[in-house]
Each structure stands twice: as C-alpha cells, then as structure tokens.
Amino acid sequence: MMKRYIGAFLTVLLLMGSLTGCGGSKQVEAQVFAMDTVMFLTACNGDGEAALQNAEAELYRLESMLSRTRENSQVTLLNQASEDFGKGQTVEVGDEVCGLIEQARTFSRVAGGALDITLAPVSSAWGFTKNAYRVPESGELEVLLTHVGMEHVHTDAAAGTAWLDEGTQVDLGGIAKGYASDRVAAIYRQFGVTSGTVSLGGNVWACGTRPDGKPWVVGIQDPNRTEEADAYVGKLHLSDAFAVTSGGYQRYFEEGGVTYHHILNPATGYPAESGLTSVTVVAAESGTMCDAFSTALFVMGEERALDFWRSGAYDFDLVLVTDDGRVLVTDGIADAFEETEGSGYVYKTVS
C-alpha cells in the first residue's frame, strides 16, 4: 500500500520533471569556437545532429585553411612565401582558396576598391589583428598602401596556386565567415534541415522558418547603444536569407580622445569616415557576397552604397544606419523590417 503510493508520487514527480524540460519540436544546438569568434547553430527537422556535426567539422576545416594567424593555414603559407622569398613565389593553396581570392577580386572591383583583402598589413599596423592598438604614422601607412591592391595578388586557377607581390599580405577575414555560412547552409540542405539559425560572428543565415512557421526574427544591434545588447535598430523577419552587419562599433580603440574603428578605407589606410555607423546586407543567395558588401558599403557611404544597390548588379537589400540618426531600408525588405519604437531613429524606405 505504502509502496504503491510512493511509486505514484515518484511518477508524478518524474512527470513534472519531464513537462518542465524540453517541449515542442526537437531542436539541436551547437556552439563552435572558430575564426576568432563564437558561432551559434540551431537545427530543427531533418538529421539535425548529423548536420551540426558536419557543420562543426567544416567550420574547423575552413579556419585551418583561411586563418591568417594560424600556422600552416593556406593563407599563412601564402603570406609567408611572399615575406620569405619575395615576389612571385607560388604556393599551392588549392581550388577553394583560389576561388575565394577571385571572388574577393570581383567584389573589390565592383565596389570600386572599397574592400580589399590586401589591406592586411595596414590593419596589422593599426594593431587590429593582435589587439595591440596604436595609431600608425601617416608615412608608415603610405608605404604600406603601396602594397595594397588586388593587382598584387595572382592566382592560377588551373594549377590551384597563388602568389603575392613582395610586401603584399592577404587576409580573407572579410569574406571567410560569409563563405562559412554558405558552406553551413549547403550542409543543412544536404541533411534535410528545414528550420534553423546559423550565427557566425555577425553573419546570420536564417534557414527556413521557425518551428511555428513564422519567419526568424533577427535583431540588428543599435550601433549607438552597444552597451545595451537588447537595443535594436529594428528587427528583420527573415526566412532562407543571409544577413550580415558591419559597423565601426564592433571593434575600436580610443587614443588621444579620438575613436579609431576597425573598418579601414583601402584608399587612405585610415578608418572609414563615411557617415554610416552600421550596414546590414540581406540576400537570399550568397553569404560570401553579404559579408563582402557589408564592409565595402560601409566604406563607400550612403550615396555610393545606394547607387550601387540601385544599379541592380547584385541582388541584395540594405539596412543603413547613418551617424545623423537615420535608418534607411531598401524597399525589397521594407515589409520584413520592423522598426523599433522609441529608438529615436528616423526611418525611411529607399527605392
């Protein structure tokens, strides 16, 4: 009698435990530390476990290939060859790195040089690669800038080799995370994942819809209120879309009362002062493109960025935040954009 009661109560207890635990659809999650950031992945439906495992392995593989700070990565080998042997030393970097360099070359060209993977030595001079910040002399920058430019990077796609001119260094960091999001998206599709989110340090891919069938809600950080992590410029309701945000607020240092941020203008070697505080690029197809353009358009500024968008050469949409308190949303995602009430911004749809 007593035992039966105890059994019944234990059952109730266990039931209560299971009810307060996980409910609803099965969702798997992963956190990956790679590419100097932490990445969050969630997946529903399909073989989520396998998708995440493969995605994680892929992210590590990409890091070991594309990192500029890791020994023996293809990018490091390429940079070292230029440093140690000078001009023209070819390095077998493989088709993938060759392809990425060529993609970067294209993006750089169409963006009028506003993004450049050869900016690496300049970025290093500012200390952004090693968190040892300093303001370089203008003369130092001038010398370094002579080695900046995609004309100093050469590839042989057929041989899978690349080589750099003397003094030139490359850093694929500006597109690596975007490329990684493309790769993870492909893996998700391969394993039949139809719902999930991928967040790779400012690079987001919204896979399908939320389990409840609604689009994923992606909050865009308010660049003026970075101390408050829940201060959003607005929210994007996205499904099957990439979104990447670039902003000077993401990394900066102060010296002598002046703030220097990490997005450098390839033309001057100084932090880009374009009147924009944050640029978000949204597109359905390519995370690599979003990553590249978010940086490039930040450097280009409002007018040139919108002209480039209007040219229709590439299919993407924008959320621009200006330093005079305006938020410009291009009409392609105007319906998916939710303004933040009381944020103090003036919202405008651009067409």
Binding site: Y5, I6, F9, L10, V12, L13, M16
Partner: protein
C-alpha cells in the same frame, strides 16, 4: 503557565523521548525511497501529539522548543534549527487549531500536523535559499505527510489506548 512537578517531570521525559525518537528515525531513512530533502517519518511528532492531549498546548510547545534546540545542539548543526523550528511551530499551530475543533481523532490532528510541518519546512527553505525552487517539492511532501501523519496518529492512538486505564492522562 504553572507546572506541577509531575507535569515538569513528564515534560522532561517526553523531551528525552522525542530526542530519542528523532535519533531512532535515522535508522529508517524514508528519503532513500523518496529522494527529496525533508522527507522523514516524523516519529518525534508522536510525542508532540501525545503532549498536546496529555499536557496541553503550552506544554507541548515547550517540549517542541526544547527538542528543536537540543536536537540542533546535539547534531552540531544550528543551520538545521530554523528548518525544524519553522516546521515544528507551523505543525504545532495546525495541531492546536485542529485539536480545538474537538471533532477530530488523533489521526486527523496528526495528519494535519504532518502536512503543516512540511509546509513550514518548505517555507524555511524558500526563505533561506531566497529561491522558490523548494516549493516544487511541496506536492510530494504533502502526499508523504498524509502517510507519515496517519502512521504517527496510529502510534499515538495505540499509546492512548494502552494508557487509557492509567492515571497518566488525568492531571
């Protein structure tokens, strides 16, 4: 409250018995069957129920305090004092109220006391932890108190029956 020597002696004996029962309880760890903090038989409650009837509320309360303080001192665990006191006092209050109704048998009084005891302990846990998580155990503890309360009630009833023809209860 004026105690006769006889009553004082009985109080002392009952306190000693309550302490002994608390100790004896350790040999029947109910918490092994039901892995929840605070689950126990509450054998010492037999004494409280008995004292309530035989001596009255004030004396029963006195015995309770003595038992709690001495028990905590012997165990060298003054932290446990707040738990046993909170539990004991709420149990006492509930039992006195039920006892006053005069319609209940020792079973009802004992069950009510056991249930109140657990409520008091959970309240103490909520207060000391500053966290409402212990409330989670309350339903199970209440269920258990039904059984342990009936058990102590039964023992108390046996006790009274045995003492029915002595003059121990007539004072």
């Amino acid at each position: 409250m004026k105690l006769t020597t006889r009553q004082l002696t009985l109080c002392a004996v009952l306190t000693a018995m309550a302490l002994a029962l608390s100790y004896l309880e350790n040999f029947f760890p109910l918490s092994l069957a039901i892995p929840i903090p605070g689950v126990k038989l509450g054998l010492a409650n037999i004494v409280t129920v008995f004292a309530l009837y035989a001596l009255g509320p004030a004396q029963a309360l006195l015995i309770l305090f003595a038992r709690c303080f001495l028990g905590a001192m012997f165990a060298g665990n003054m932290n446990a004092l707040i738990f046993s006191l909170m539990g004991g006092v709420t149990a006492m209050a509930a039992m006195i109220a039920l006892f006053r109704l005069r319609r209940l048998s020792v079973y009802g009084v004992s069950i009510g006391g056991a249930a109140a005891h657990n409520c008091g302990q959970v309240a103490a846990a909520v207060l000391t932890l500053g966290n409402t998580a212990p409330l989670y155990y309350l339903p199970v503890l209440l269920g258990v108190s039904l059984l342990t309360g009936a058990l102590t009630g039964m023992v108390a009833a046996l006790l009274f029956r045995a003492l029915e023809h002595t003059n121990l209860l007539k004072m």
